[in-house]
């Protein structure tokens, strides 16, 4: 079945609310899922994996374990980027605004591809980002120029063993500054694949024009989560609607 972007957003927000997310969190999480799905990054597949975890535990966020002027380390405590991605990016922005570039490492977190949407949104504040993480046996690198609407997304062969559930993000006023300040940490192996801006834009326009294809089972799963925030209707409650 096909759904619209607005409809999907509304459903996701309520579904995340059903999982116990608070208002800021469920807005952000819904944004992340919709962005990935509409830009060709398999947002629904990733959502299903995230739901398998989120459905079994109370929402928890990352905690700050280490920080200096240019570096911060957060422990995601096995949470999802859907929950701790925003606070990580916010912390990084705050550091960049006080200096020229900063690095943040988020350990023990899952569903890291969702960070793409947060980085693109944050880039609208004229900040550039580079993020990378290990995905199975390869490495994903994302670059977002300051003010850019779309990221550069590439995968590389791994040259060193990265921690499996760690996400590293660099931020600066420009990509060039990040490259200069953190060059040693941004050495990647041979390029494997690239997902171009044109491909992302085409996916987005297609979803806008024709709607977004969603598996009926997943749609039903979201409906079931939404049902958690609904209140049983009674004669008395009908009076609270204007009868």
């Amino acid at each position: 079945m096909k759904v619209s972007k607005n409809e999907l957003m509304a459903s996701l927000k309520k579904a995340f609310e059903g999982l116990g997310f608070q208002p800021g969190d469920y807005y952000d999480a819904a944004d992340m899922v919709v962005w990935l799905e509409t830009h060709g990054f398999d947002g629904f597949d990733r959502l299903q994996k995230a739901l398998a975890y989120l459905n079994t535990t109370a929402p928890n966020h990352a905690v700050l374990v280490q920080e200096d002027e240019q570096n911060a380390v957060l422990d995601g405590e096995d949470s999802s980027i859907l929950l701790c991605g925003s606070e990580a990016v916010d912390l990084l922005i705050a550091q960049v605004m006080q200096g020229s570039a900063a690095r943040l490492q988020l350990n023990n977190c899952y569903n890291r591809t969702f960070i793409l949407q947060r980085l693109v949104k944050a880039a609208q504040r004229n900040i550039a980002f580079v993020a990378f993480w290990r995905q199975e046996d390869y490495c994903v690198k994302v670059s977002v120029a300051a003010g850019a609407k779309l990221p550069e997304y590439s995968t590389f062969a791994m040259t060193e063993l990265l921690e499996p559930q760690t996400l590293t993000i660099f931020a600066g006023k420009e990509l060039k500054i990040i490259g200069e300040q953190f060059s040693a940490q941004l050495v990647m192996g041979p390029l494997l694949t690239t997902f171009t801006e044109a491909e992302m834009a085409a996916c987005y326009l297609e979803s806008l024009e024709r709607g977004i294809e969603i598996d009926e089972e997943l749609w039903q799963m979201l409906d079931d989560l939404v049902a958690r925030i609904l209140v049983e209707s009674t004669e008395s409650s009908r009076a609270g609607a204007g009868d």
Binding site: M1, K2, V3, S4, K5, N6, E7, Q22, P23, G24, D25, Y27, D28, H61, A62, V63, L64, L74, L83, C84, S86, E87, D90, L91, I93, A94, M97, Q98, K121, R125, L208, E209, R210, G211, V226, A227, R228, I229, L230, V231, E232, S233, T234, S236, S237, R238, G240, A241, G242, D243
Partner: protein, 583 residues
């Protein structure tokens, strides 16, 4: 009105930022917002101006109704930039099944506005889904889905009269003002429809907020009278009359609006701020235009408009005692203002900032609703200063945390911009005596009473004031311990407050910001929220049925399709009964 700014001779009124706008603490009071009337910037008004001036062509390639008026009708709409189809299904409905509530599942009419033309295959798809409304699914070729119920009081009466070769009595019609009542017009991607972003970027004809939804209601009005004519002609082919043109213009579409609309205003604060800012900008421009007095003709136009509103209010029939009383009082105050204008006119003609004087006089002597009628009428006087603002009614709605902000600055912002929230004593039971929740019945928003109704733990997050208070208290404690720290660190410590922090920081940058009301107070009047939004839609004749829902009319007095392309004076607000040539 900030008269200090007004008296500054160095003001540049061509710059929006320097106009003497009314302050948020005055405008954003819920009672005032609930006293707004339609203006030139209301969505029905701007839509009608566009359709008439661009001479939209509307034909009906399919008008397939049986002798009872049931069947399928397709209208082809050739607007300036594109072609659309308005598809309507007319169904038999038992009177006892007729229900205006969201929870209804059958209606007299169901409609869809589609992009392009509709072929047989798509028509069949629509026939299988549109009548089901929320229980069906449509696709991204559909812009709006809507439904309507007949007015039990007027429809049969009008058809009977026309079939008898007579025109219906205007006084009888005035008791209702419409033949059909719409109970919902869904757009913005609901049920698989086209996203607002698609509509805004692809269909320039409907690229303003709620333009497509309003058009759907306008077409319903057109059909309602075509159907009445059709049924009369079916019954008496030789002798049936067609509805008089003046009566047709006077007839609108009824609307029932309940609590479903209320959360919209809280969940879209940037959009609401934009609408209000444009309306206030219009008012400020009008005041600025009276810098060197106003001419006699303009004063006379205002006097005529006031007399029209007095008549309009006198013609409203409502069972709601509070509204009736208000209509009478506003009418009396307008009569008083009318006399004041007459008495003062020689002085006013050469006064500086005449309209500021009038607004000030109204604020000192009249109730809020009368003040807002005057403001609306002043906006009507200067289309050349106002109408361009209609292009600025949309805004990108994105809340963003500013993590680099110091916690002390955030505290200060709350103290300055949310002083109204900090002034609420949430330790009082009444301050948290109500809560909003979504019902299992079609997710209908409902208002519950704390300690009486179930569901408090599933409360919708509409208690902005309370959430701000909680955030502020935490901030105060946090900043005592970490005075140099920024918002990012506060959020790391209290991550569940990121939503309210981003809202506070974002809205603090807007001119009007939040609606200044505790929406979970025991005595909250949600009807003010409904009426505020409805005024921006452009409805008239508010008829409250309780504090939770209101009936009103849409497009009453508006031009007809046959008026498109003809010279047009956009003055159909505050509709009054037509005087027919034969009466």
């Amino acid at each position: 009105m900030d008269l200090n700014q007004r008296d500054n001779g160095q003001q540049n009124y061509s710059d929006l930022q320097l106009l003497p706008m009314r302050p948020a603490k005055q405008v954003m009071q819920l009672e005032r917002l609930g006293s707004f009337h339609q203006s030139r910037l209301s969505f029905m008004r701007t839509l009608v101006r566009r359709m008439v001036s661009e001479n939209w062509q509307i034909t009906s390639p399919m008008f397939d109704l049986d002798e009872q008026g049931y069947g399928t009708v397709v209208y082809k709409v050739d607007a300036k930039y594109g072609t659309f189809s308005y598809v309507l299904f007319s169904h038999h409905l038992d009177p006892e099944s007729r229900n205006d509530r969201v929870i209804a599942n059958q209606w007299d009419l169901t409609m869809a506005l589609c992009e392009g033309t509709v072929d047989a295959e798509q028509l069949e798809f629509l026939r299988n889904n549109v009548p089901k409304q929320e229980a069906g699914r449509v696709d991204s070729r559909v812009l709006v889905l809507s439904r309507a119920n007949r007015s039990a009081r007027t429809f049969d009466y009008v058809v009977d009269e026309l079939a008898a070769g007579r025109q219906p009595c205007v006084d009888t019609l005035a008791e209702v003002g419409y033949l059909y009542r719409t109970t919902a017009a869904y757009g913005s991607g609901k049920l698989g429809m086209a996203d607002w972003e698609k509509v805004r970027t692809k269909h320039r004809d409907f690229a303003r907020p709620f333009a497509a939804e309003m058009f759907t209601c306008f077409m319903l009005r057109h059909f309602s009278m075509e159907q009445a004519d059709y049924l009369a002609a079916q019954r008496a082919p030789e002798t049936a009359a067609k509805l008089n043109t003046e009566i047709r213009r006077y007839m609108g579409i009824g609307n029932s609006t309940g609590l479903g609309m209320a959360p919209f205003l809280i969940n879209h604060p940037l959009l609401i701020n934009q609408w209000i800012e444009m309306r206030e900008t219009a008012l400020a421009r009008v005041v600025a235009a009276s810098e060197v007095g106003v001419d006699g003709a303009t004063l006379a136009r205002l006097e005529t408009a006031i007399k029209r509103v007095i008549q309009h209010l006198g013609e409203i029939i409502t069972a709601d005692e509070r509204q009736n009383k208000s209509n009478v009082l506003v009418g009396d105050e307008l009569k008083h203002l009318h006399q004041w204008l007459r008495d003062q006119s020689p002085i006013l003609a050469c006064n500086h900032y005449v309209w500021a004087d009038l607004i000030k006089y109204a604020e000192q002597n009249c109730r809020v609703e009368t003040q807002e009628v005057i403001n609306t009428l002043l906006i009507e006087l200067y289309p050349e200063l106002v109408d361009g603002l209609e292009e600025l009614m949309d805004v990108e709605e994105s809340m963003q945390v500013m993590p680099e902000m110091s916690v002390s600055q955030l505290q200060q912002i709350i103290e300055e911009k949310y002083d109204w929230a900090l002034a609420i004593d949430f330790s009082q039971f009444e301050s948290m005596g109500a809560f909003w929740y979504r019902s299992q019945e079609k997710m209908e928003p409902r208002l519950g009473q704390t300690n009486i109704d179930m569901g408090m733990e599933k409360e919708m997050p509409l208690a902005i004031g309370r959430r701000v208070r909680e955030c502020y208290d935490l901030l105060c404690a946090y900043s005592q311990e970490h005075p140099q720290q920024n918002v990012a660190h506060f959020i790391v410590q209290y991550p569940t407050y990121s939503g309210i922090v981003s809202r506070i920081q974002t809205m603090a940058q807007s001119r009007y910001g939040e609606i200044r009301e505790n929406l979970v107070h025991s005595d909250v009047l949600p009807i003010h929220l409904l009426r505020c939004k409805l005024s921006f839609f452009g409805v008239s004749k508010f008829d409250p049925r309780s504090r939770l829902w209101v009936r009103n009319t849409m497009f009453q007095g508006a031009p007809l399709i046959s008026d498109f392309g003809k010279p047009f004076v956009d003055d159909w607000q505050f509709p009054i009964k037509p005087v027919l040539a034969y009466s």
